[in-house]
């Protein structure tokens, strides 16, 4: 981006040389700090999780119980957490991605030019609402409204595993169904903004070529904007997935604890990785039980790391998710 200053041969060698060196050192050190922070994050979580993992009497990946009350008989596993986390995130993604693509197409191709920017800011405002407020709204306002929908789906499509009877009561709406819809709202802005960005980059020539062939507006979008923006759609979805996987407090407020393990139903309750850790925060005193939660945190860290790396890969480099 920047141009290099010319060689300074023959010029007065002032404070600039030392200043340059010190400043460059500071800049490089700052960059290295970021790398160090991520490395330390993985390292510390792993170190603190290790003793508990060794003391674990159950299989960490396959057990659905999470019992840390007796430090001498730790039995914890992530299978249930994984199921709830993945189901709620994927459900959120299934709702949010088509809507986000629709919004992006609307903002880039349909909205009057003058309003495109304010409209886009309106969608971005959704990202400004704190997640705890979404949680409050989700459980106190949205959940009662969703109740008839949930009951209808459960009554009529109950034979399908997603809509089967869950392990918590439908009343109150503390289910993955509600949580997933709230998560969809929360990840909508990031998917939209990444998708919108690539849609605006569609080469004008492609669009004009399609128009010259007599394509309707929809056909132009289908033949030029969508294929060109596919990488952005995938990257945006991945970023949204990463957000949904790690969302803590909204899910914690909404989901109701369940007595038994779930069976991949949207009407299950339970805990995600993040909400499980947050729910136990008050009990973080004894090292071994705490380590169990840190182990779950490490898995979440690894999961989001992979998802975000994939997002970057899909975008072919830098993704700018605000």
């Amino acid at each position: 981006m920047s141009t290099e200053p010319p060689g300074r041969a023959g010029l007065r060698q002032g404070s600039g040389r030392w200043g340059d060196r010190i400043f460059e050192f500071l800049a490089v050190a700052a960059g290295a700090t970021i790398i160090g922070a991520i490395a330390l994050m993985g390292l510390f979580l792993l170190i603190r999780a290790m003793p508990s993992l060794q003391a674990n009497k159950a299989n960490f990946f396959l057990t659905d119980e999470f019992n840390t009350t007796d430090a001498n008989n730790l039995r914890f596993g992530i299978s249930e957490l994984f199921q709830v986390t993945v189901l709620s995130s994927i459900f959120a993604l299934v709702i949010a991605v088509p809507i986000a693509i629709g919004i992006a197409a609307f903002l880039t191709n349909y909205a009057p030019r003058r309003f495109a920017k304010p409209f886009a800011m309106l969608v971005d405002l959704l990202a400004a609402v704190p997640s705890i407020v979404f949680g409050l709204w989700g459980i106190f306002v949205l959940a009662p409204r969703l109740d008839p929908v949930a009951r209808f789906l459960n009554d009529n499509l109950g034979w399908f595993f997603l809509f089967a009877d869950g392990n918590v009561s439908l009343a109150g709406g503390g289910t993955i169904f509600t949580a997933g819809i709230v998560l969809a709202v929360m990840i909508l802005p990031i998917i939209t903004s990444v998708t919108r960005e690539v849609f605006t980059l569609t080469p004008k020539g492609h669009v004009e070529a399609a128009q010259a062939l007599g394509a309707t507006k929809w056909e132009v979008i289908r033949m030029t904007v969508f294929p060109y923006g596919r990488s952005g759609m995938i990257a945006g979805s991945m970023l949204g997935l990463g957000r949904a996987l790690g969302e803590t407090v909204a899910v914690l407020i909404i989901l109701r604890a369940a007595a038994q393990a779930g069976h991949w139903s949207l009407f299950d309750g339970g805990y995600t990785f993040a909400s499980k850790i947050a729910s136990a925060a008050a009990e973080f005193s004894a090292p071994l039980p705490t380590g169990a939660y840190i182990a779950a945190g490490f898995v979440l860290f690894a999961l989001t790391f992979v998802v975000n790396a994939l997002a970057r890969l899909a975008a072919g480099g830098r993704v700018s998710g605000g």
């Binding site: 920047s2 200053p5 510390f44 809507i99 990202a127 400004a128 407020v133 989001t304 993704v319």
Partner: protein, 304 residues
């Protein structure tokens, strides 16, 4: 050949009217795109309306902004959230004090110096850091600062976790703004014999400053609403606590989360009042960011 042959077109018209099915599809797509935009506005308006309607009564109480909840019974309609506002702002301010200089330096590194593998790894890690869930950042601070180094739970620990969450936002906005600075400005400065570091500090950064400040304000707004770090790294307190290194400290999200367990009507009032207060503070920061962007940028172009 007579002229009559030219009375009619030799060939039929090349343009066919658009078939009905294509027309329908075209209109259907337009409607669906519009509807998806409107769908996105529904939760926004709905959430804001809910919070406003339910929290309005609480924040108009005279004690809301000036009092804490110290000594206030759960069922009492009294007290305020002054202690939580203080906590939220202080924690965010400490986080900013660390992440702003560091984030700006990272941005400068990536735009002005970044070459080779180190820069590539750094941008990658900034992206990863931006995607780290807040609960993981909090857990990391818990594992490193509290368990390993032996410090107490405190507001400062929360601030450390917020640094991690704020850093990528600051880096991104700095980077974006520095890239907008025209190369001609740098070249002019170099031509005058100004060393590179002075060029960056005196020419490049001042030019990008309004955008950077508004980016920082938006980042602040983002971390103010973070709940996960305060759940893990500090305890709740109904009284004001000025000490950032010791003792419990309330913050707006923590107050909301704590009062959720209060079954009394007053608890509900505090929950929605605090939610509205939080949204008002975030909105204030957004407005401030927009003003900075508009007015400082305009002045700059005038003087140039």
């Amino acid at each position: 050949m007579t002229l009559t042959t030219l009375d009619a077109a030799v060939k039929g018209p090349t343009f066919h009217p658009i078939s009905l099915s294509r027309k329908i599809k075209n209109h259907l797509a337009a409607v669906l795109f519009l509807v998806s935009f409107l769908i996105a506005l529904v939760p926004l308006v709905w959430v804001l309306y809910t919070v406003l309607a339910r929290g309005f009564r609480a924040i108009t109480s005279p004690t809301w902004w000036m009092n804490s909840l110290y000594g206030v019974l759960p069922e009492e309609f009294a007290g305020g959230v002054y202690h939580a506002i203080y906590g939220s702002l202080v924690q965010a301010a400490i986080a900013a004090a660390f992440s702003v200089p560091l984030g700006i330096m990272v941005g400068v590194y990536l735009v002005e110096y970044g070459r080779g593998w180190l820069a590539r790894v750094t941008t990658f890690m900034v992206d990863i850091l931006a995607g780290v869930p807040s609960i993981v950042a909090a857990l990391f601070i818990f594992a490193a600062w509290i368990t390993t180094l032996g410090f107490q739970q405190s507001a400062f620990a929360v601030a450390l976790a917020l640094v991690l969450l704020m850093l990528p936002l600051v880096v991104r906005s700095t980077e974006e703004m520095l890239k907008l600075v025209p190369d001609e400005l740098r070249e002019a400065s170099y031509a005058l014999g100004v060393p590179k570091w002075k060029t960056i500090v005196r020419v490049v950064i001042p030019t990008a400053l309004p955008g950077m400040i508004s980016g920082i304000l938006l980042a602040l707004a983002r971390v103010l609403g973070e709940t996960a770090p305060v759940l893990i790294l500090v305890g709740y307190s109904t009284a004001i606590n000025f000490d950032i290194f010791e003792g419990n400290m309330a913050s707006l999200p923590l107050l909301i989360y704590t009062e959720l367990k209060n079954p009394e009507a007053a608890g509900g009032m505090r929950v929605w009042g605090a939610a509205l207060t939080l949204i008002l503070i975030v909105a204030l920061l957004y407005v401030l960011a927009a003003l900075v962007n508009r007015f400082l940028t305009r002045n700059r172009t005038k003087t140039r």
